[in-house]
Amino acid sequence: MNEQQVADLCSEQLDRSLAGGAVVDFPDIDDLPELMTLGQQLSQVCFQPTPALQAEFRGQLAMWFGSNKRDVQGIGGVLQRLPRHFIWAELGILGGATGVALAIGFVIVIQLILSPATAVSMRPIHLTIVAILLGLGSSWLLGRLIDHMMPSLFSNSVEQGLQVVLVFSVFTSLLQGFLFTHGW
């Protein structure tokens, strides 16, 4: 047996031993039983993080990924998720308002570019659609920007957060479009 064959056999036996299986004896390899014993001794040297370190890690996980999945079920879970949903909703409102502002600004700029005599007439429905689209865009951008700057805020639920942001953005744009067209 060459060294490679011995090494492969030894690794195979070690893996079997580590998985709790029985080791097969190979008389060709003199020191195999010794190596297996050494392997078992090494695998028994087990260090465990202290309870304080484990608690710190759990806290870190909760901060990064939100609370433990088991804890976010039921009413308690809804309450825990509420503040984050508020942040998303506020982002949506901000994005929607930005969309309306951009749409109006867009109309004003076009009016300025064209001769003052030519009045730009835009139907309220068109203005609202433009506002919604711009609001969605700005909400998405805001969401991504905040996730990039503060990754722990959205953690791994960015997609869910963006859904809330986009819904609120559309509602804000619709509401402002409605108020604008009714002269409020």
Partner: protein, 186 residues
């Protein structure tokens, strides 16, 4: 096996949400990574700092993890392996294991009988001191295999070696460790 099952479940759960369940993956690998770091670092406070850095980095770079390219364990152990290399690069001299008087506080002893405890204390002391005498590469391969419980293929990915080479390096490292222990004992 339990960790593999957890990893598979975490990845399966993630199919609908696009992103793997990192919280579950982190939780499943934390103790194993700590054990690996502790094998290589004799000062528990340093190992605690290192594990924080490793998971902080894993969290920040989680978008780079691609389940189609390899297991999560390979990915996270590679981060730990690199952090360990950085740790030793900034240190002139290694701190030695002081296992003569008592076992490290974070070492788990499966047997609570006083005699068994004493025998284990002696064995662990011999192993750790023997391990310390080995080269960096030998220590690394033994730690990844026995503390990290990784397959030769995974170790190969982490250490940039072929799977066949890993088994030869591991065999040589174990023989050298055996030799060290024998010499110390005599």
């Amino acid at each position: 096996l339990q960790i593999v099952a957890t990893e598979e479940a975490a990845l399966k759960n993630s199919v609908s949400s696009k992103e793997p369940d990192f919280a579950e993956l982190f939780r499943a690998h934390y103790a194993r990574v700590y054990n690996y770091l502790r094998y290589r670092v004799s000062v528990s406070e340093d190992a605690e700092d290192l594990i924080s850095i490793v998971f902080e980095k894993a969290y920040t770079c989680r978008a780079q993890f691609d389940a189609t390219k390899g297991a999560f364990s390979t990915w996270v152990f590679r981060i730990a392996h690199n952090e360990l290399a950085n740790y030793y690069r900034t240190r002139q001299r290694r701190s030695a294991w002081e296992t003569e008087s008592e076992l490290p506080k974070d070492l788990v002893t499966p047997d609570s009988l006083p005699e068994a405890h004493l025998i284990q204390q002696e064995t662990v002391a011999q192993l750790l001191r023997g391990l310390e005498q080995l080269s960096e590469r030998d220590q690394e391969i033994i730690s990844l295999k026995f503390a990290g419980r990784l397959s030769n293929q995974e170790i190969g990915h982490i250490m940039n070696l072929k799977e066949k080479t890993v088994s030869v390096v591991l065999l040589r490292a174990m023989r050298r460790l055996q030799q060290q222990i024998r010499e110390k004992a005599s």
